[in-house]
């Protein structure tokens, strides 16, 4: 452990409560959910900044996300921190009456909260005092006029549509102010088969000095769409907003719904969910490897990885009927059983993929012209990973280790043996290697699952009372969260996904600083970012 890390790290829950009590006596704390180990800290607004700063820096708790809820009488802002030790999740709650929309910004000390506050400002019209840069974010300023607050309760979409005054004079913010500096815009449509996103590369000639991104071209407002749907219907959205990792998002959603209802998922379904989640990770990683090879214009390697990806898509289709695993999940378990022989076939297919990937890695690691393009590009130092609370392979390739399957085990994963691989360099090659080692661990997990799959039902009755809960899952790109609130009749009041791509896009600009133009696609591919996951 680093000598400069604070002492409070990894305290027990009791000790954590004592420390909070000593330092902030006016903060009311309560344990809300023992099973999921959550501590709620009810914090007066004037203390918010200090408390969050203390949690982030002195207790070294990473920031997981901010969820805004507008209930009948007040604003509820929920700042979620990872409690990696025994302490469990730490939720900081800040409230205010509905007519008062001012909250202190915590960005100055918790930089990871930057985009979360910008989203809340845009969608709810909240004011975060002290935030350095608000404005054009989710709602594009050249399409929507100011003052449209779509997530507010009384929002009238019809009216908003009619009063729109698109602003054609809008220009993105530029930072580099040297003589001869110019901006190279890329996107939203660029390159061959890519998601829509816009990049501004600021340059004075040869090298790119700074990159900024503009996202939300694909904003479908799924949080708004989910409101008023039944818990089962909102699952359709959870699976489909970013379907390259559909199962993980659906899984997190179901876990939130089941936490509200207190549903215990039957043992067979628990393990089958693990199998499907790992199959998805394996397939996703093969795809991510293919994209990295392709970005380096390495056609043979890209073809080989592409074969593995398609093999696994077919394996998924063969096992569940759907290549992206739609329609298998249901709140309470699974919508259908998967036979044990079918799971054995999947295992054999996963093992074949492991052999193919292993061979590919061996060849790649001696192809020096390929490595030259990946090494030392897009470096993310550990310091940055921590400041941005990064997640997933991107974080772990900078030795910032957190894997929710290990840090906060959820049903199915408790007794499984697997490693959480890590790399130190934080560059493109480290991220590539990490994808390979994680894929190997996924096969290891599938082996154990198939060996110990119990018989029995796959679905428990699901009858949710009203309430709110957080569901979390380690998705292929990193930790993904679903904050869900249902009313007494089981209808969705609030569904807020916080996805790994949303977190990691935030740090992308730091990996894309001071580089040569031709490296841009390579840096982008090694970050393995989904736009759909960000744009919601």
């Amino acid at each position: 452990m680093n000598a400069d890390r604070p002492q409070e790290r990894r305290v027990t829950r009791e000790r954590f409560r004592e420390l909070i009590e000593e330092r902030w006596p006016t903060v009311v704390h309560s344990i809300v959910d023992l099973a999921n180990a959550t501590i709620e800290l009810d914090c007066p607004r004037r203390l918010l900044r200090e408390l969050c700063q203390g949690l982030f820096h002195d207790f070294d708790l990473a920031f997981a996300g901010l969820t805004v809820e507008e209930d009948a009488s007040e604003w509820k802002l929920r700042y979620v921190f990872y409690g990696d030790g025994e302490a469990g999740w730490v939720h900081v709650l800040a409230r205010a009456p509905l007519d008062d929309t001012r909250f202190p910004s915590i960005v100055e000390s918790v930089h990871a909260a930057d985009w979360h506050e910008r989203v809340a400002e845009d969608l709810y019209g909240l004011q975060f005092e002290g935030h350095p840069r608000l404005g054009d974010f989710v709602l594009h300023d050249d399409v929507w006029q100011e003052g449209v607050e779509p997530m507010r309760r009384g929002f009238d979409a019809e009216a908003a549509m009619h009063q729109r005054q698109p602003n054609t004079d809008w220009r993105p913010v530029r930072v580099v102010e040297e003589s001869g500096a110019f901006v190279m815009p890329i996107g939203p449509k660029f390159s061959g088969v890519t998601e829509s996103v816009h990049f501004l590369l600021e340059t004075v000639g040869e090298d790119v000095i700074r990159t900024s991104t503009r996202r939300y071209y694909k904003w479908r407002a799924i949080e708004k769409l989910a409101e008023g749907k039944s818990a089962a219907d909102a699952l359709l959205l959870a699976e489909r907003f970013a379907a390259t990792t559909a199962f993980a998002h659906g899984f997190a959603y179901c876990r939130a719904a089941e936490a509200i209802a207190g549903t215990v998922v039957p043992p067979r379904a628990r393990l089958l969910r693990v199998l499907l989640a790992e199959l998805e990770r394996l397939r996703h990683h093969a795809g991510a490897i293919q994209e990295i090879c392709e970005s380096c214009a390495f056609a043979v390697a890209s073809s080989h990885a592409g074969i593995v990806e398609e093999d696994l898509l077919r394996a998924s289709g063969q096992l569940t009927g759907h290549r992206y695993l739609f329609g298998v999940l249901a709140p309470g378990g699974l919508a259908c059983d998967l036979t044990t022989p079918a799971c054995r076939t999947t295992l054999a297919q996963a093992q074949e993929a492991r052999i193919a990937l292993g061979a590919l890695l061996r060849e790649l690691s001696i192809s020096s012209s390929f490595l030259d393009r990946l090494e030392e590009v897009g470096v993310i130092p550990l310091r940055t990973a921590r400041a941005y609370s990064l997640v997933g392979p991107v974080a772990r390739a900078s030795s910032y280790l957190r894997d929710l399957r290990r840090a906060r085990p959820y049903p199915g994963y408790e007794d499984l043996e697997f490693d959480v691989p890590s790399e130190e360099e934080g560059d493109g090659y480290a991220r590539l290697r990490l994808l390979f080692s994680e894929a190997e661990q996924s096969v290891r997990i599938i082996e154990q699952v198939v060996a110990r799959l119990p018989e029995g039902p796959v679905r428990a009755p699901f009858e949710p009372p009203g309430g709110g809960a957080l569901g979390w899952v380690e998705a292929p790109r990193g930790g993904t969260f679903a904050w869900l609130r249902l009313d007494a009749s089981g209808v969705v009041v609030r569904y807020r996904p916080v996805t790994p791509s949303f977190i990691n896009w935030h740090a992308f600009q730091l990996g894309a600083e001071k580089f040569a133009f031709q490296d841009f696609p390579i840096i982008l591919s090694t970050f393995d970012l989904s736009v759909a996951e960000n744009d919601l």
Partner: protein, 268 residues
């Protein structure tokens, strides 16, 4: 680098036999619910569909593939499931909402374009799955180059505009600009349930209900997402090299059934 050559040779040929012969490998297609005679309980079953893809006429069930989002509610958790079709040649020539489409089986682009077509792929808000299936067309299994299809990043070289996603507000202008920048003749291929009906995003205030709300669509490829083979079929239809599928639930003369016309009209 010689190892790579050997590795390539050892891997052998993986490419699908389609379109010369049908592809039968498992897991290449999710299939679609099969409509037809169902008997008693047809309307109950149809009412399980979250997107209105199923319509019961007496004991018969019609399936509107453009709306189906593969939720499997009509087959899982029911006593008597709907039948299921395992095909993938799903692409139809559009019967667009505004009546823009010809309805004829004349190839959209004309004979000179049969053997070499440049495709520009635009993501107008998809979830990533349709796009990922389009990506698969470049891998050795599908290798669309062998059929004369090439992806181009610029509209100036494109003959076909392949659009995925429901068309979000923020992408509408870009999509229109790309279409306008393409030389004529041009052909729009809409891929996926979202591009055809809005899919699960239909009803969002930030989306259209598919590409036909913005551009004249010539070829429709249903599926959520359509597998690579279905997209390939769509491109072949655009090139006039494959016969389009006949939409079930639509009588021979090309007239939409009253039910599907009424629901399509509710688009805006």
């Amino acid at each position: 680098m010689s190892e790579w050559v050997i590795k390539g040779l050892v891997a052998g040929i993986r490419t699908t036999v389609y379109p010369k012969a049908p592809e039968r490998a498992p897991g290449t297609t999710p299939g679609f619910p099969a409509g037809g005679e169902f008997g008693r309980g047809a309307s109950e079953l149809a009412s399980r569909c979250p997107t209105g893809a199923l319509a019961a006429r007496g004991g018969t069930i019609d399936v509107d593939e453009r709306r189906c989002i593969h939720c499997y509610r009509c087959v899982r958790g029911v006593e008597r499931p709907l039948g299921w079709d395992r095909g993938y040649e799903w692409a139809t020539q559009a019967h667009s909402r505004e009546g823009l489409a010809t309805g004829s089986e004349r190839p959209a682009l004309g004979r000179p374009y049969r053997k070499s077509i440049h495709v520009i792929v635009v993501d107008a808000g998809d979830c990533g799955a349709c796009l990922n299936e389009v990506r698969q067309l470049n891998n050795p299994y599908y290798n669309m180059h062998r059929l004369g299809f090439f992806v181009t990043p610029t509209p100036r070289h494109a003959d076909v505009l392949l659009v995925v996603g429901p068309v979000t507000d923020h992408m509408r202008v870009a999509l229109r600009k790309i279409y306008d920048a393409m030389p004529t003749p041009k052909c729009v291929v809409a891929v996926g349930a979202c591009a055809l009906s809005g899919g699960v995003f239909a009803g969002s205030f930030t989306c259209k209900r598919g590409v036909a709300d913005v551009l004249p669509v010539e070829v429709e490829v249903p599926g959520n997402p359509p597998p690579p083979l279905a997209i390939l079929h769509g491109l072949l239809v655009a090139a006039g090299r494959a016969a389009p599928a006949r939409r079930r639930g639509v009588p021979e003369d090309g007239e939409a059934t009253a039910a599907s016309r009424a629901s399509a009209g509710a688009g805006e």
